[in-house]
C-alpha cells in the first residue's frame, strides 16, 4: 500500500439515540464525548502514522428497530473498524449481535449489564464497569462504612440499567445482613414522586434510600425527598453523576447523597480535568453527566486498541481490545480480565454536600 492509502481515514460507527426523547439526554453527551476524543486524537496527528478517525454517526431514535437497521448500515460501511454506542442494554442488544455476526467489535460506552458479552459474543465490549461492581461497591460502602442496615429502594422500572442496579445492590446488601425495608418503582418519564415520598415518610425503620435512577430523574428525586423534610441518606449509582443532582434541589437540599461513579468525578487534576476543560471549550457546557466521559473513553479505548493492533482489521482490533490491560481513561483504568470483556475498573464514591461533589473514596473490585 502506498502513502496515499496510509492516510485513509479510520472508520468508526457511532450508534446513539440522539432524538425522539427517551435516552437522548444520556446518549447525546456520550456521543459528544466520543466526538471530542476523536477530534483530539485527529488534532494530535491521528493514529497509525497519521490516519484520522472518521465517525459515521447514526441516530437510533430510541427505537430498537432503528437500532438494528442502523447496525446493519454500520457494518456495511467499507473498512469499518468498530462500533461504539448506546447507554442501555436493551439497545446494545439490538445492535451488537449484528456486529458480532459481521465480526466487528462493538464497544458500548454506557450499557452496564455485566451479562452483555455472554449474551452477544466475543465482539462485545463494555467501557464502564458492570452494574454488579458499582452496586456491590455501594452496598458494601453503605453497610460497612455508613453503617446502614435497612434501606428503601426506588427503581426506575423502564430501564434495564436501573433494574439491574437494584438487583445487584439488593443481592449484596442482603448478603451482608442488611434488609430492604421498602421497594418502590417508577418510570423514567415520571416527574412526580410525591406518592413514593409519602410512603417513604410513613415507613418506619428506614435508614437510607437507594435510588436506582438515570440522570433525568436524579435531581428531581433528591429535591422531592428533601423538600418533604426527609433527611435520610440517599444512595445511588452513576446515574446520579450529573450536575442536576446539585442544581435542581439547590445547595441547601442537596446533601447527604452518596453515589458510585467512574473515577473521575471529584478529581480536579489529570485526565479528568483535561477532559472537563476540553468538553467545556468544545460544547460550551460542562459534561452533562457521566455518559459524556464514558463516550470519551470508549473512543479512546478503541483508538488505543487500533494503535496496539497496528492495523484496522476488525479481528486484530478486537483481539487488541480483549487484551487491554491498562488503558488510562478519564473514568478510570480499563483492564479486561482474561476472557472477560467487562472491565475491571475502580469505583469512585462521591458524597454530595455543600454545593459540591466531594470525592470520598475509591473501591477497586477484586477481579
Amino acid at each position: 500500500p502506498g502513502a496515499a492509502q496510509d492516510k485513509e481515514p479510520i472508520n468508526v460507527a457511532a450508534l446513539y439515540n440522539l432524538t425522539s426523547g427517551g435516552l437522548s439526554s444520556l446518549d447525546a453527551p456520550s456521543f459528544n464525548g466520543m466526538k471530542l476524543k476523536a477530534k483530539m486524537i485527529n488534532d494530535a496527528g491521528g493514529i497509525l502514522g497519521g490516519r484520522k478517525i472518521e465517525i459515521t454517526a447514526i441516530d437510533t431514535k430510541n427505537d430498537t428497530r432503528e437500532t438494528a437497521t442502523a447496525a446493519q448500515r454500520a457494518v456495511a460501511i467499507k473498512g469499518l473498524v468498530a462500533g461504539i454506542g448506546q447507554s442501555d442494554s436493551t439497545f446494545a442488544l439490538a445492535a451488537a449481535p449484528l456486529f458480532q455476526s459481521a465480526g466487528i467489535p462493538f464497544v458500548t460506552s454506557g450499557a452496564t449489564s455485566p451479562d452483555l458479552p455472554d449474551m452477544v459474543g466475543d465482539q462485545m465490549f463494555l467501557v464502564p464497569f458492570g452494574d454488579d461492581v458499582q452496586a456491590h461497591a455501594m452496598a458494601e460502602y453503605a453497610y460497612n462504612t455508613l453503617g446502614l442496615r435497612n434501606v428503601a429502594i426506588w427503581t426506575d422500572n423502564a430501564m434495564d440499567y436501573t433494574t439491574g442496579l437494584t438487583r445487584y445492590f439488593t443481592e449484596r446488601f442482603t448478603q451482608l445482613g442488611g434488609k430492604v425495608a421498602l421497594e418502590d418503582v417508577y418510570m423514567t418519564t415520571d416527574q412526580d414522586f410525591s406518592a413514593l415520598v409519602s410512603r417513604l415518610q410513613s415507613t418506619t425503620g428506614v435508614d437510607a434510600v437507594f435510588a436506582s435512577s438515570g440522570p433525568d430523574t436524579a435531581g428531581i428525586i433528591v429535591k422531592q425527598i428533601r423538600e418533604a423534610g426527609i433527611t435520610l441518606p440517599i444512595l445511588a449509582g452513576d446515574g446520579f453523576d450529573t450536575d442536576l443532582v446539585l442544581s435542581v434541589p439547590g445547595e441547601a437540599l442537596a446533601k447527604d447523597v452518596y453515589f458510585t461513579t467512574h473515577a473521575y468525578a471529584g478529581i480536579e487534576t489529570g485526565p479528568a480535568q483535561e477532559f472537563r476543560a476540553a468538553y467545556q471549550a468544545e460544547y460550551n457546557t460542562a459534561p452533562e453527566n457521566a455518559f459524556a466521559a464514558l463516550g470519551y473513553d470508549a473512543m479512546g479505548l478503541v483508538a488505543d486498541a487500533i494503535t496496539r493492533a497496528g492495523s484496522t482489521e476488525p479481528a486484530a482490533v478486537s483481539k487488541a481490545l480483549a487484551e487491554t490491560k491498562a488503558y488510562e481513561g478519564v473514568t478510570g483504568t480499563v483492564a479486561f480480565p482474561e476472557g472477560k470483556r467487562v472491565p475491571n475498573k475502580p469505583v469512585a464514591i462521591i458524597k454530595v454536600g455543600g454545593g459540591k461533589m466531594n470525592f470520598e473514596t475509591t473501591v477497586t473490585p477484586k477481579g
Partner: protein, 298 residues
C-alpha cells in the same frame, strides 16, 4: 395507615391534578373551538417552561413580569402554529388536524433537540414560592397552593368568558359550524386564532408552574404531561373546560392514590392502573364526567 398519610396523599394528588388541569384547560379550549386534538400542546407547554427559564434565570425579570412574558410567548407560538399548520387545512376531517398537530409536535421537538439539546435544565424559582405553609397535620408549599388556585381561577375565568360573553358565544357557534357562524357575521379566523392564543398561553403558564414545582425542565418534558392532559380532558368530557379541570384532578388523584394506597409492589403498574380506572370511568360515563350526551335527535 395514618390520617396524615392519607391527607398528604390526597394533597399530592390534588397538586398533581392541578398541574394536569392547567395543561388540560388549554387543550380543551382549543378542542372546544376547532375540534382539534392538539398534540403539539405539550410542546407549547415546554416552550412556556423555557420562556420562563429565559426570563427568570437569564433575563432576571421579576416573577410577575416573567409570567407575562410566558403568556405572550405561548400565545405567539400558538398563533404561529395555527397560521402555518392548521389554517391551511381548515374544513378538513378532524383526524387530519390531529395528524398535523403530531407533525407540528415532531417539528418543535426536533428543533429543540437540534438547537438546545434534550438535556434537562435546572429551573430555579424565587424563594417565596418554595416556602412551606402549614396545613393541619401536614405542610404544603406556596407553589403547590399557587398551582391549585391558578387552575381554579383560570377555569372560572374561562368558563365565564366562553359562557357569558358575546365573543365566547361566537366561539361556541364557530365550534359547531363554520359556515353558519360566518352567516351570523362572525369572523371565524379571528375566533380560531383567539382560541389558539388563549389555549397556548395557558399551556405556557402551565409550563412555568411545572418548572417551578419540579425544579427541572427539558425540551421533551411535554410529551407525557401532554398525553395525560389529553386523557384528563377526555375523562372530563372533551371540549368542556370545567370538565378538563375535573378530569385533571381526578387523574392526578387516581394516579397518586393508586401508587400511595396500594402496596408498593403495585406501583410499577401505575400507568396501567390509572388507565384501567379511566377506561372504567368512561365505560360508566361514555361521554366523560361533564360530557354532554351525544344522543342526537333522529
Amino acid at each position: 395507615m395514618t390520617g396524615a398519610y392519607l391527607l398528604s396523599q390526597i394533597v399530592n394528588g390534588l397538586v398533581l391534578g392541578a398541574m394536569y388541569a392547567l395543561i388540560a384547560i388549554g387543550f380543551s379550549m382549543i378542542y372546544g373551538i376547532v375540534r382539534l386534538i392538539n398534540f403539539a400542546h405539550g410542546d407549547i407547554f415546554a416552550v412556556g417552561a423555557f420562556a420562563a427559564l429565559g426570563s427568570i434565570a437569564i433575563a432576571a425579570l421579576p416573577f410577575p413580569l416573567a409570567v407575562l412574558v410566558v403568556l405572550l410567548a405561548g400565545a405567539l407560538v400558538g398563533l404561529l402554529v395555527e397560521r402555518a399548520a392548521f389554517r391551511p387545512m381548515r374544513g378538513a376531517p378532524q383526524v387530519t388536524g390531529f395528524i398535523a398537530s403530531l407533525a407540528v409536535a415532531i417539528i418543535l421537538e426536533n428543533l429543540a433537540v437540534m438547537t438546545i439539546t434534550a438535556q434537562p435544565r435546572t429551573f430555579a424559582i424565587p424563594a417565596w414560592l418554595g416556602a412551606l405553609v402549614p396545613l393541619g397535620s401536614i405542610s404544603v408549599r406556596v407553589v403547590d397552593i399557587a398551582i391549585i388556585v391558578l387552575a381554579l381561577v383560570l377555569t372560572a375565568a374561562l368558563v365565564g368568558f366562553v359562557r357569558f360573553t358575546r365573543t365566547g358565544m361566537a366561539m361556541r357557534a364557530t365550534a359547531e359550524n363554520y359556515g353558519v357562524a360566518r352567516l351570523m357575521g362572525i369572523n371565524i379566523d379571528r375566533m380560531i386564532a383567539l382560541a389558539f392564543a388563549i389555549g397556548s398561553a395557558l399551556a405556557a403558564v402551565a409550563g412555568l408552574m411545572w418548572g417551578a414545582k419540579y425544579g427541572q425542565i427539558s425540551p421533551l418534558m411535554g410529551t407525557v404531561p401532554g398525553l395525560k392532559a389529553f386523557v384528563a380532558a377526555v375523562i372530563g368530557g372533551v371540549g368542556s373546560i370545567s370538565g378538563a379541570v375535573l378530569g385533571g384532578f381526578v387523574l392526578g388523584l387516581a394516579e397518586v392514590l393508586f401508587v400511595g394506597l396500594l402496596p408498593s409492589e403495585f406501583s410499577a403498574f401505575r400507568n396501567a392502573f390509572v388507565f384501567a380506572a379511566l377506561i372504567l370511568v368512561l365505560l360508566v360515563m361514555p361521554n366523560g364526567l361533564i360530557g354532554k350526551s351525544t344522543e342526537t335527535r333522529a
